[in-house]
């Protein structure tokens, strides 16, 4: 009897360790969501997809006014044109992706076991360009960003479902790297992402209110009124890193892709609502 119980326990061990590999991120996510919900008890979970406008009433009114006719619609239109465009050999960008248009955005970022790294939507689009023997687009190019705007628009209302598979240790490692990045202080101002967007969330930095990290990835790319253009999530990362006076990493660098992976996982269960409009 004792023996078989021990055997049973032993046989459970691999299962338990395997579960632990995914339980980590899931525990992190639950704690993350709980934290923001307790900080803002009047804000419904789904509202966090709206970023700062979930918690700032006056700014929300102005945002809704912009959303009456948001300038990113030009980018969505341009993105759709590029997406549909037949290339010299008759192929289309869409041919690289198996899913229907609305399912493409939610499939990224994902961990590619074969490559051993996180693949984001922007990277996947450029990979496609390469298989079609076309020059890749720079990651800050209007073309690439407008395509992501179109795919974000097509995915509106779909849930964020970032996956970390238990049988891919690399996925968990990438997630952990993103998490470490998020919580590490950097730069001359000695700030971690979390210092502003967790600990001090909702407070003012000069005239800006700090947005909650829960939902940070759902609405990109965003039209920035200040710039008059649509920018990518990685351009925003770059801006934040620069704001704390650290040298930014390259767009789509491993550091930023891992950070995107971590932040996307934290936003699981929210709805995609990009492209967004921000001041």
């Amino acid at each position: 009897m004792k023996n078989s119980a021990a055997m049973l326990l032993l046989s459970l061990v691999p299962m338990l360790t395997q579960q632990a590999a995914v339980a980590g991120p899931e525990d992190d996510r639950e704690a993350f969501v709980e934290y923001f919900q307790s900080r803002f008890p009047d804000v419904a979970f789904a509202e966090f997809a709206n970023g700062i406008y979930a918690i700032d009433e006056d700014a929300r009114g102005q945002w809704l006014d912009i959303e009456e006719f948001p300038p990113y619609e030009f980018a969505v239109e341009q993105g759709e044109t590029l997406w549909q465009e037949a290339l010299p050999d008759g192929a289309r960008l869409a041919d690289c992706f198996g899913q229907s248009t609305g399912d493409i955005r939610p499939a990224y970022p994902r961990f590619d076991a074969g490559r051993g790294e996180v693949v984001t939507l922007a990277v996947a689009i450029n990979d496609c360009r390469q298989t079609q023997k076309l020059p890749v687009w720079p990651y800050d190019s209007e073309e690439l960003i407008s395509i992501t705007a179109y795919l974000a628009y097509a995915a509106r209302g779909k849930p964020v479902v970032t996956q970390i598979h238990a049988d891919e240790p690399g996925a968990l490692a990438a997630y952990e790297e993103g998490k470490r990045f998020y919580y590490s202080k950097r730069g001359q101002l000695n700030f971690a992402c979390s210092d502003c967007h967790v600990t001090s969330v909702g407070l003012h930095v000069r005239a800006d209110r700090l947005s909650p990290s829960l939902g940070h990835t759902t609405h990109f790319p965003v039209y920035r009124s200040k710039l008059g253009t649509v920018i990518s999530l990685h351009q925003r990362f770059s801006g934040c890193v620069r704001d704390v006076r650290a040298k930014p990493f390259a767009l789509q660098s491993e550091e930023f892709r891992n950070l995107e992976y971590f932040l996307s996982y934290m936003s699981n269960g929210l709805e995609f609502n990009g492209p967004g409009a921000r001041k």
């Binding site: 009114g61 102005q62 959303e67 509106r156 930095v205 009124s225 801006g239």
Partner: protein, 150 residues
């Protein structure tokens, strides 16, 4: 919540791009002098022949209390005054206070929305010209300088 999703509903109107055709109608000349004025009073005098406007509770001016971004301040003006000929937006502390002026022909509702730039905290004045006179209402909009904007 649904605000975002209804934005691009394709059901609205089909529109087609046309090649740039010569313009046909130009109701009135662009009021260059009024736009060049560097003071609110001067801009109004140039535009209306007087800088005296009667305060009116019948004009509704919707602006934010604190502009999220001085480069994009949403402004909506509507009025229950009758026989409106024009609606203008004057930003007192802008280097050129007259921001925009809308001519309202008969049949068009005195209800307009736009987005304007503001250099600093200032009164925004909605000026309505009717067949009986010049009326206005104003509200202060605070403009602060931001840094991040996440």
């Amino acid at each position: 919540m649904d605000v975002g999703r209804r934005l691009l509903l394709k059901a609205g109107v089909a529109f087609a791009a046309l090649a740039a055709l010569p313009r046909t109608l130009l109701a009135a000349a662009w009021p260059e002098k009024a736009f060049a004025a560097t003071e609110a009073g001067a801009a109004m005098s140039t535009l209306f022949g007087t800088n005296q406007a009667t305060p009116s509770a019948e004009i509704k001016l919707k602006v934010p209390e604190i502009a999220e971004n001085g480069a994009v301040v949403p402004v909506t003006i509507s009025t229950t005054l009758e026989n409106v000929e024009s609606i203008s937006i004057v930003v007192e502390h802008n280097p050129r206070p007259l921001a925009a002026s809308f001519e309202i022909p008969a049949g068009t509702l005195p209800n307009v929305s736009s987005r304007i730039k503001m250099g600093e905290t200032s009164d925004v004045i909605a000026v309505v010209k009717t067949d009986t006179g010049i009326y206005s209402t104003s509200k202060q909009v605070k403009v602060t300088i931001g840094g991040c904007g996440g």
